[in-house]
Amino acid sequence: MEEAQIKQIIERQPLHGSALLDPRCKILLLVCIGFVSYFLAGEVVSLVLMLVYGLFIALGNGGKWAVKMIVTYIIVAYLNALLRYVQVPILSVIMSVFGVTVLKLIPIMMMGLWILRTTYMDDLMVALQRMRLPQAVTIPLVVMFRYIPTLRIEYRQIRSTMDIRGISDTLWKRVSHPLATIEYILIPLLMRCLKVTDELAASGTTRGLELECKRYALRTIRFAWPEIVVSLLGILFLAGLLLIDQTKIGEIILWRV
């Protein structure tokens, strides 16, 4: 294959629409939602927040995810409303507190996990570097995202050995000796972590990880017009929601069974 063709493959873009925005823009929106979501009391405005951001995500490779989260949101909201028929004093108090918290959490989670899925690690490193964050933040963060999937594999390996050797292999042993179980799982895992760290560090430093040059990602990362427009619109929209929330619309009760 010719190099020109290969370059095309490299630059081929599985992401489109809002997923292509600069990671800084996505993070800014996330922080704003995180701030606003907890202060919105009205049910209508909360749903609007959910729907508008669901649409925003659906425009960038997140259609299925947005639908899933919106459906979850509606189900939780209805369950919350159902609580009025359950008159167990303490339980219903606690359940309503819990339900309200979960409802506030869902829009942020929807946005956060979407960002994780649609952001390349090198884009993130570049964006964080442009935000003047030091290597002390960028390196651990990137290592973390790469290591979390590996952890699951390593955990399974350890559990296999424990099962074969009869170490904390039954539920009873785990419940009766929780600390020993934690020790048997954590110690080999930590030993492995130390080893992986050594190897990763050796491999990273010999490929120039410690150099603090200005980085360029495979995609051009720039906080340009689209980002500015989207950020401004996002902020205006959220501010507007906060205002509307103070009016009559904020008092409309939406979830009633």
Binding site: M1, I10, M121, M125, Q157, I164, T205, T206, C213
Partner: protein, 488 residues
């Protein structure tokens, strides 16, 4: 040109020098093999080449190390990044990004190259090393061999003049090793200087220009390719070296006697397995194993060897078929009680804070005498109080084998027991397995190591692409077909 000038090094935490008075000059474009027993200092030697010594592993240096007229000792590993490229042993712990294309670009991005330049370089790497098929994929979905190729590609994109490979074949199957040799051949043809540290070097035999044998931190001998490949067997073994021609072992193979009287019988019938909703990993797997058999499970990566092991040891439940022991059908739970699995990575298998305790862990009854006897037999008595993590790789492996002996498992499984082992340790494992089989244990070995299989196994079971399995008594005929598959 690279020259070590009376170079010595001592690690900060160690009282003795690991390298002592190394004098070695390597011309540009040479292909150098560094070999010797585990712990001889060959890894330390290449660490000084890529700058990890002294900046990453601090210590005391004497002498000098010069590349093209400049001393390397003052240069940090990151400054050397564009000049010396290193590919490490374990492909799983060498990547930072989560997708292949960005991993190829990782080094270039660290160097602050422009976007166009980076794309230019990784396109060239993908073309030259034939990595196009791997582009834009998740790293987690790649096999060890594929990860290794991406790691080489990522170094290649930095366009270094010198390549260092640290036991690159330790985690690869024979097909991936062959591919590795092709890539190395290409690098050599393009005039790069290449250093390889390796125990199992058969795949390099046509590439080597010179070989340095390291012993106790010194260069014991230097060979040309011809000298090295024609070393008399006795001399070779006295240096603790593996063979350069494993296929010759097949020609001199004598069929082994069945170890014991066959008091136990493990029968596998019509086994099939698939992950949820997925296609069958394998089907129609049937074979028998008697006490004293040492059965090699062979097959390329992805043929389902690990899955088969997981089912046999009771970690997974088969979709279909049955496994019986002495005529009694076994549930997964019963299989777990009967078997023991010695994994390739010993890290996952050691839980206790002393060797002593490790051996008796998970055993209910009093087993002190047995532990003592096992420690004696495995030559681990002097380490009984030590923490398993402080032992060497070979010793850790013996501790896990010891736990199997104490558990009294009638069936023991080994997954790649010789990866990264030198000749002496390989022979030791082989002898241990023979002792186990003589005592009536059924032993299964998953391995790509031809020399080891020939030396150790009495039967082979082959998993092929269609998932079917063949069970053969190891014979010169079988070995011939195997060796053709491995080496041609």
């Amino acid at each position: 040109m690279i020259s070590f000038q009376n170079f010595s090094f001592r690690y900060e935490e160690s009282p003795d020098f690991t390298l002592r008075g190394i004098d070695m000059t390597v011309q540009t474009g040479e292909f150098i093999l560094l070999t010797g027993r585990s712990g001889c200092g060959k890894t330390t030697l290449i660490r000084s080449l890529n700058g990890l010594i002294p900046h990453f592993y601090p210590g005391e240096i004497q002498g000098d190390l010069v590349m093209d007229g400049h001393s390397l000792l003052e240069m940090k590993p990151s400054q050397l990044a564009g000049q010396v490229g290193t590919v490490f042993q374990d492909p799983r712990s060498q990547f930072f990004m989560t997708d292949t294309t960005r991993e190829l670009a990782f080094g270039c991005e660290n160097m602050g190259l422009s976007r166009e330049e980076t794309i230019e370089r990784i396109a060239k790497a993908a073309k030259d090393l034939e990595l196009v098929d791997y582009l834009n994929r998740s790293i987690f979905a790649l096999s060890s061999g594929e990860k290794q190729q991406i790691a080489i590609g990522s170094v290649y994109a930095l366009s270094p003049k010198v390549y260092i490979f640290d036991e690159p074949s330790a985690n690869l199957d024979y097909a991936a090793t062959k591919r590795l040799a092709e890539i190395m051949g290409k690098l050599k043809k393009d005039g790069y200087t290449i250093f390889v540290v390796e125990h199992r070097f058969y795949y390099l035999r046509d590439l080597i220009d010179r070989v340095f044998l390291i012993q106790d931190g010194k260069i014991e001998r230097e060979f040309t390719r011809e000298q090295f490949c024609t070393l008399p067997e006795k001399t070779r073994i006295s240096y603790g070296l593996r063979t350069a021609y494993p296929e010759r072992d097949a020609e001199n193979y004598h069929e082994k006697e069945r170890g014991s009287d066959g008091k136990h019988l493990l029968a596998v019938q019509d086994l099939a397995f698939s992950y949820k909703k997925g296609p069958d990993v394998f089907q129609n797997v049937s074979f028998e194993a008697h006490s004293g058999d040492v059965i090699g499970i062979l097959g390329h990566n992805g043929a389902g060897k690990t899955t088969l092991l997981s089912i046999l040891t009771g970690l997974l439940k088969q979709r279909q078929g049955e496994i019986s022991f002495d005529g009694k059908k076994l549930t997964p739970r019963q299989r777990r009680a009967l078997s023991y699995l010695v994994m390739q990575d010993t890290d996952y298998q050691l839980f206790a804070s002393s060797v002593d305790e490790e051996l008796s862990l998970g055993i209910k009854e009093d087993c002190k005498e047995k532990v003592d006897a096992t420690l004696e037999a495995l030559e681990l008595s002097e380490y009984r109080e030590r923490h398993p993590a402080s032992l060497s790789g070979g010793q850790k492996q013996r501790v896990t084998i010891g736990a199997a002996i104490v558990k009294d498992s009638p069936v023991i499984y080994f997954d790649e027991p010789t990866s990264g082992l030198d000749y002496d340790s390989m022979v030791r494992v082989s002898n241990l397995i023979e002792q186990l089989s003589n005592s009536g244990v059924i032993v299964f070995v998953v391995s790509h190591d031809f020399e080891f299989i020939v030396r150790t196994c009495t039967e082979v079971v082959q998993l092929d692409d269609h998932g079917a399995i063949q069970n053969h008594r190891l014979s010169p005929g079988i070995l011939k077909t195997l060796s053709e598959k491995y080496f041609n």
